[in-house]
Amino acid sequence: MKTFIQLKDGIGWASVNTTGDVEGAIEVDSGSGDFYLKKKYENGVWSEASLIRFAEINDEGEIIEIKRTYYSSEVTGPVMVDGVKSDSKWVDGVWVNSIRIEPVVELVQSPVLDNEDTNVEETQN
């Protein structure tokens, strides 16, 4: 029995255990197929693949669901990036964060003292 790995978007997507051959797939050690699923294949080297987080949005650009995949062809919405919050909107191809109005903290100071402790030398002509 041979084991072949089929790639999707350069990442292991399906494994086949067969006595024959699978065209266009990469042969690996027999029975080891599951290990290579969701692994990145580049120049003969397997490595960990990055998980892509993307959003499903409504007509107003609001996030209605966040999904994850290893395969770029399965990304069907704008990719989530650092700083995007659940109430962010996708507007004209960019993420726009909502504006939050923070409470104003008012500092109360003691009145400034007059010129005590100052040693002013006045000059008279």
Binding site: Q6, K8, G12, W13, A14, S15, V16, N17, T18, T19, G20, D21, V22, E23, G24, A25, G33, D34, L37, K38, T69, Y70, Y71, E74, Q109, S110, V112, L113, N115, D117, T118, V120, E121, E122, T123
Partner: protein, 146 residues
Amino acid sequence: MGIATFPAASGGGGIKSVQRGSAASAGNVTITAVDIAKSFVTVFGTASSGTVAATGAVGGPTGTTSATNGDLLGRNAGYNTGFVNEGAINRVMGSVNNPSSNVTLNAVNITGGTNNLVAAIVQGFLANSTTLTVSGACRYEVVEFA
């Protein structure tokens, strides 16, 4: 009321080949060519769908917070008297005198929802002699008879 006649057994041999494997998501799996008229597919979904509700409590710390008593030093802006520029002068602008205060966060319960995470229904079929189409993450087996 039994079955009067049974269909005659057709000729043919046993299992010619078995192919097993896994798919990470929906799509077409390329397999070694089989005769689809003499093959069947078994698919076992490994994907899940739905949500899991959480029930529990979130606890908060209980303790005290305090500020150091003392003077608050400030610096008034320099100004020009017309004759002498005084420059900046350090002054005592006020004081800090915050008594200790208790900080208590009550535990908050998390409730709601239902536990309805279920195995997603995944199906598969042979689109042609070398293509197995699956509708989601699964393990599959293609059995071809002689």
